[in-house]
Symmetry: C3
């Protein structure tokens, strides 16, 4: 079903460059959990896929939360006594703490310092800071710059607004043969941070664009929403739909060269967990597989105990474990087309496993069937190497007893899913297998 997922094809088709270019396009936008930046980002996605955009008004209750006022910002700077801008929002939207209330005043360096975040250990980088729910204002700057500021009076301006408005998210549904859904979710609330999460937004956009052309078993829901409050708003408005979600992945930080990293869903052994782990372990890479923990991205909400959805987190480097994390070093130089292409490939391969997994029954379960007679087996026995290529067929025949899916068999045989599936297709064609039950019928 996912016909285009071989890594070689993807490289040939320059999928990495496509994703990178889109990430670069949305990188400059100043996003937050509400406001024009999110809308502009969703418009850019809409140029590729037919996105359904939702506005949730300020004040709407979503479970324990309330949609906050909408934040927008036009400009911000700090000027010294000579009128020189020592800090300028126009140069980096990280310079202003997200959701800073408006300010316009003249203050001493001592006062200013109470409103400045720096990273003393990474003195050339601007940190990324937010204060969504406490009314504050602050600037973020390189520590080296702060140290050079003279003891004089500064003019500080943050030309922002906090007004009644709405929170915005977008979703795209690719309809498959069934209403069972596979949720793919990326947060769209971070400003100019390339890996976190322009990379994830761009990867999902192009995955959706390609899947639109494919027939699939599952329906695929692509959700582009602000982190935490956006996911919570979506869950609150789609509570009844959640039982359809059979698999899900949160996609973030997929443009760097680390990892791959997979954090399992709260269930720990759901089909998506097994499919990702299988795919990564047969990727030739050295993946990091993490048990679920309640800290991270929006899997926190999807895996809250009242939902407990089978949704894991796919990343390259693990969040928080790289020096670039939540700093101005997470820029376009930090991500690369080849990393994005590999991330795409791994996600697509995982989807392919989930799409293709099924339970067959061996139609000749008593003793082995005679593969040779059907042209399925090397006709000359006795060769000590001949058997290797037939192992996948033997495993599929031996375990297709109605209780093992192809993924079960791949795991037990320690062979790549694609090899097992290919063997199953050959055997099915040869009349030795018949489908005998949806893999989900037992798990839902």
């Amino acid at each position: 079903m996912m016909s285009d997922i071989s890594y070689e094809n993807l490289i040939a088709e320059k999928i990495g460059e496509e994703i990178f270019d889109f990430a670069a396009e949305i990188y400059p936008i100043c996003r937050s959990i509400t406001g024009r930046g999110v809308r502009e980002t969703l418009r850019a996605i809409n140029a590729h896929i037919n996105l359904e955009v939702h506005e949730v008004p300020t004040g709407t209750a979503v479970f324990d939360w309330v949609i906050p006022r909408e934040w927008n910002i036009r400009d911000a700077y700090v000027k010294n006594e000579r009128g020189e801008k020592v800090l300028d929002f126009a140069r980096s939207n990280l310079h202003v703490m997200s959701y800073s209330v408006p300010v316009r005043q003249r203050i001493s360096l001592t006062e200013l310092k109470q409103h400045i975040y720096t990273l003393p250990d990474q003195p050339d980088l601007i940190p990324y800071r937010t204060s969504y729910y406490a009314e504050k204002w602050a600037f973020c700057m390189p520590h080296r710059l702060l140290e050079n500021l003279k003891d004089e009076t500064y003019e500080v301006v943050i030309d922002s607004t906090l007004t009644e408005g709405s929170l915005t998210y977008g979703e795209y549904l690719h309809r498959g043969e069934t209403e069972d859904e596979f949720l793919l979710s990326a947060h769209v609330c971070h400003p100019s941070l390339a890996n976190d999460n322009c990379s994830g937004i761009a990867l999902l956009t192009h995955l959706a664009k390609r899947m639109a052309k494919l027939r699939t078993r599952y329906s695929y829901r692509f959700l582009f929403a602000p982190g935490t409050i956006g996911a919570i708003a979506w869950l609150a408005r789609n509570e009844g739909r959640c039982q359809r979600i059979k698999h899900g992945l949160v996609i973030s930080m997929v443009g760097d060269g680390g990892g791959p990293t997979y954090k399992k869903s709260r269930r720990g052994n759901s089909p998506i967990d097994r499919a990702v782990v299988h795919t990564l372990c047969h990727s030739g890479l050295t993946p990091t597989i993490l048990e679920f923990s309640p800290y991270g991205y929006d899997e926190r909400q999807y895996c809250s105990p009242g939902f407990n959805l089978p949704v894991g987190l796919f990343q390259r480097s693990k969040f928080g474990e790289i020096p670039e994390y939540h700093t101005s070093a997470d820029n376009l130089d930090f991500i690369a087309p080849n990393h994005l292409a590999l991330s795409y490939h791994l996600v697509a391969k995982t989807i392919d496993v989930v799409e293709s997994d099924m339970v067959y029954c061996n139609t000749m379960p008593k003793c082995e069937p005679q593969l040779g007679r059907r042209g399925l087996y090397g006709a000359v026995g006795g060769d000590k190497h001949a058997a290797a290529g037939n192992m996948a067929m033997l495993w599929v025949l031996n375990l297709s007893d109605g209780m093992h899916s192809l993924l079960d068999i791949a795991e037990r045989a320690n062979l790549p899913f694609a090899v097992i599936r290919e063997a199953a297709l050959l055997l099915h064609r040869g009349g030795l297998l018949k489908p005998c039950g949806d893999v989900n019928s037992s798990t839902t």
Copy 2:
């Protein structure tokens, strides 16, 4: 509930010295499985806690056993031809094999040697030997002393009595809110061996003394009984009560600097097993955790298949694995206040886990509740370190689905129980948790 269990407080309160002093007080007494030594020991305990003392008459059947005759000893010695005492019970009660029948005769060195135990590999130490159920007499002495004995005639005297009498044990019950019991058991049958088990007797005496002032959920039964036959007698006389025992620990050899060592109950994964393992693994020490085996102390009886009680064994060094074991080197120099204080601390922390463990339900199970609004979360996001302190709260919220107790959560989060409990108390106070079932309701 156990308000005084922090190690710092215990050290400040000199708990180690208290326990050591009591161990030193009872160390000189010549105990055996019956007789005046046991009664004297129980009287010493009674000076601290209101002990209920039981006498079980000689000849009473207790399961497969019969209470033996009572053994008492006044004096014993070996004199050479010059009338010099080459061995004198007055100098060490280990010199006489426990339950030796009376003897008064003159014998050759050759004959004498047939009644002498030594430790050739530890030539300066007196071994500890008993013969409760075979009528014999013997002396125990340093091997070096034996080698120096001349080939002459010796006068051997053991002024002991074996008469109708009784076996004595004592128990103290601290009543808690429920009749569910936590059994704490120490053997009181060894003579002058400081670690085995003056240490355990003294630790439990002072633990009982302190618990007497506390309100607890469980009732705590402290049992001071002779090893094997004493535990068997207690079980035979309290068979109907055993179903109340939800947790238990045998306490022995808790004054040396080794271990800590925990041998699991026969069940292997009962709450007491998990509580001790959790406590020891978060102690910063390097504990040894042993699976159950049917050799050791009175857990052998409590874990016999007809009872199968959830009772484990807590020790410092493992019995039998230190050179001082069952020799005169197990004296007051071998135990120390700081070791006793640490042992007390570990036992008390374990009790604290068992006392406090419970199941909460998240009152806002759908998505995360907004902790910040309740002052439970750092209001400024985006800091890469801020989250660490909130992990315990997130774990408690995520797993409080009615199926996980606080200990379950502490295990899964790999955080100390006290940290998880503190988070639960904060969340409970904030209305985000409600108690939803006794942890025992599912296990009893």
Copy 3:
């Protein structure tokens, strides 16, 4: 029951020499999956045990297979232009690919080479090749010999016949107290390969011969059949009987000095799997334990999903992992009496475990019974070493609660089965145990 299985006794009785001599006797016979070689082999076995021989006619359908025509061969050679036999079947029956169709023609070296198998990496050895189901002819020779052949015309002769006939197998049933069966199976289709499987045929023949004199709980079925098609034919003709098979072993390659190797049955944790693993792990050797895989010997058929019998594979070296495998180096020099004796010992010990395993109930389950009073325990306590010898008794008493068999206890105690059984017999004799249920009653 297996009174003669101690390794020392077996060596004294020269069991290894007995087995070796029989393997040597049948080594020269040219066996295939049908034909006179199999019959001659079964006649040799019949000289030791009363074998029931079955003929299954060509054309008989057995599950997905059909019994092929019978193959026999009288002679074969390759002659050069000078009339010299450069290859002669009379010197090694490996020289002709098994089931080669008859041929008699003069051909060029180039044509000849299309019908020759060699092992370039092992240039002095003749490979073993078969083509049972594709009509072909071929010779097998040392690669060095092939390289020396001159570019001339050769006379090639294979004087074989492929005719209507039958497939032959033999079986021997040792009747035990019950109709529950233990299947022991060896393939009889390989020509002059000593280890694979003259060794297995000979071991089972002499095992059957010795068991004939013993009273056993299980009935033992010894099956000597051609690989794959023979096992399939037996299963097709005995389908209704299969439910009686409680345990089984395929025996092959048991004469070399490697391993021992055990490949588990498809069930993975059936009693035979546990019995073999236990026996091998307490053998003092360094066994290789393999999970089931659907490639190997006739366990492939016994463990097909429609049967899923508890049948594992016992070998010394693992098939395919030694350079001698399926070459002329697998000759009588490759096997040895001492290796065969050890293999016999391990199989017999495994049978002994399965025969003796049972569930006892402790008649005194409340507290320990007083072993000393019954002469079952060292009467003098306090010795730090005395306990070791009593551990097996303590384990048996502690776990004989009706839910643990002797093998369960041996596994948990990490003691050899024979030690546990001896303890159980002593305790049974002492009235402390009573039999309480067949180990199979819970597993069948």
